[in-house]
Amino acid sequence: SSQVVWSMLGNRQFCSYKMTTKTQNFCRNEYNLTGLCNRSSCPLANSQYATVREEKGRCYLYMKTIERAAFPRRLWERVLLSKNYEKALEEIDENLIYWPRFIRHKCKQRFTKITQYLIRIRKLTLKRQRKLVPLRRKIERRENRREEKALIAAQLDNAIEKELLERLKQDTYGDIYNFPIHAFDKALQQQDAESESESDAEREEEEEDDEDVDKREFVEAEDSELSDFEDMDKLETSSEEEQEEEEEVEKKGSHSKSKGKTPLKGPARRKRPYIEIEYEEETEPSTKTKAA
């Protein structure tokens, strides 16, 4: 009757354990020895059948014989196999003596595979386990949205620029940067006598400033070294002459006006000494008249 069963289930009619894929047929029956849907591996179509299954880390040998075919409850006989690999293989042999070669062989193979994966499980549990923390979609979305808004509220570029300018004012950079108006402001806060010594220091710093200028990546090199030094001299002379507030105010004012008047000098504006020199000449007559 196993023939009949197979001709029905295997080929023609529907078997609920059978899973077909493009290349192969699989059998989902839990007692199946190989997992494929074959005449020799189908536990329903073979009246004498055996499998090896593991439960909670222990392996059992399940056997089915024709005599018990009428008693479904007692159909599968279970034998616990020993933990020792070789001993267990002998036990399989012993229990399945006189059984078809195919079943014996496949049982032993299956048992081997099972022991191998059990060993692996035990090894992996000793190593660090990766803990999976589920993402909460709503929370993720909320946090992303809040982050975007915080980014907009932060106005990072402005904040950084402000902080850097603050640090410049607080003189954390020391002598590296030389912006004459700034230095003259400080001179005003102190006394005039001290401002002279500062202007001396400035002359020295301007030379350093030249080196820095060459290092800076952004600035294009348009003016030659000679013009720098020419203007340096002018600045020296002018700084000696002028030590009054009004001129600096005028300088500032003229500086702001200058941008419209001489657009050709645009790139050179970054190097402040030159700009001031231009306008000092303009304002000189007025200051001289005032002095007079």
């Binding site: 992303n144 809040r146 982050e147 915080a150 932060a154 950084i160 620029e161 902080e163 800076r216 952004f218």
Partner: protein, 324 residues
């Protein structure tokens, strides 16, 4: 209610609404059963609301102009930062207790310039390309840092080795689905461990208008908006990553900006165009962090003593309450 919809003249989908539609006071748009009509009436109601609002604004502006100088000053718009719930742990700059704490905590050796920071950057197991590249870029940004691959080593065993080799800080970047999404920053000789959630990581090639590679100069550090005690300690942790004396010649600055509990990291190169203007150019990777927990000792998830954990149900109740 049924009468209300009938009293309004000229309704219907075709003709445009009249200028001054008077809705009877007990009328509510939601009581009309017909969806099309209800929609139409709602639009009209909305238009009317808008008109009223505009009229109100105009009136107020006229009043303001009429008053001229005597007008009351303009109201400051409310922002989340303005409305922030006052946190009692906000640090007062002159607070002695805080100063004393900071002099004696784990970062004291750093701030007294006794130790030079040396950083170890690593990832979780089997990092994918993006994480690897991010680690490399981070290593260029932070001076005196080394990247080592994890290869299945347990953190608890790495830490004593690191301490033996004089590392001061350990950064572990956690990866999920091929992108970095977490950061564990641990100060080594039994310092605090902070666990962050990292988001919007941008590698250098993804940043638009970026400059050249960061050089070897020691960058400056800017820490913005770390106001509370917790924020203060986190800020110090970040500061301890960088050597104490920045090289101003390099003109590089690393910024940790805290806004509404999100810490934005940026790396820029700056140039002072004039006394009042500075230009900045972004180099380097950028990312945002959100603090998840702060632990007293070094990394120990089971037995560690947590100084602060983000508990969603308790701490996320108010939109205006922030912890950093």
């Amino acid at each position: 209610a049924a009468g209300g919809s009938g009293t309004v003249p000229g309704e219907g989908s075709g003709p445009p609404a009249p200028e001054r539609v008077l809705f009877p006071p007990t009328f509510s748009v939601s009581e009309i059963k017909n969806k099309q009509r209800r929609h139409f009436m709602f639009l009209r109601w909305k238009q009317q609301q808008r008109k009223e609002k505009l009229a109100l604004k105009k009136k107020r502006r006229k009043e303001r102009e009429a008053l001229g100088d005597k007008a009351p000053p303009k109201a400051i718009p409310k922002t989340i930062e303005n409305q922030r719930v006052y946190d009692e742990t906000t640090v007062d700059p002159n607070d002695e207790e805080v100063a004393f704490d900071e002099a004696t905590d784990e970062f004291a050796p750093y701030f007294n310039r006794q130790t030079v920071p040396k950083i170890l950057i690593t990832t979780s197991d089997r990092p994918r390309g993006r994480t690897v590249r991010f680690c490399e870029q981070l290593a260029t940004v932070i001076p005196n840092s080394h990247v080592y691959y994890r290869r299945g080593l347990a953190l608890k065993r790495i830490i004593p080795q690191c301490i033996a080799r004089d590392f001061t800080d350990l950064i572990v970047i956690n990866e999920d689905r091929k992108i970095p999404n977490g950061l564990v920053l641990s100060h080594l000789p039994d310092g605090p461990t902070a666990h962050f959630r990292m988001s919007s990581v941008r590698l250098r090639k993804e940043i638009k208008r970026k400059g050249k590679e960061p050089t070897e100069h020691v960058p400056e550090v800017i820490l913005n908006n770390f106001t509370t005690r917790l924020g203060h300690s986190i800020g110090r942790m970040f500061a301890a990553l960088f050597p104490h004396d920045p090289q101003f010649i390099g003109r590089q600055v690393a910024t940790f900006h805290n806004q509404r509990d999100y810490i934005f990291f940026r790396f820029h190169r700056y140039i002072f165009k004039s006394e009042k203007k500075v230009g900045i150019q972004e180099l380097g990777p950028r990312f945002t962090l959100k603090l998840r927990s702060l632990q007293k000792g070094t990394f120990d998830s089971k037995f560690g003593e947590y100084e602060w954990i983000h508990k969603r149900r308790e701490m996320d109740t108010s939109r205006r309450k922030f912890h950093l």
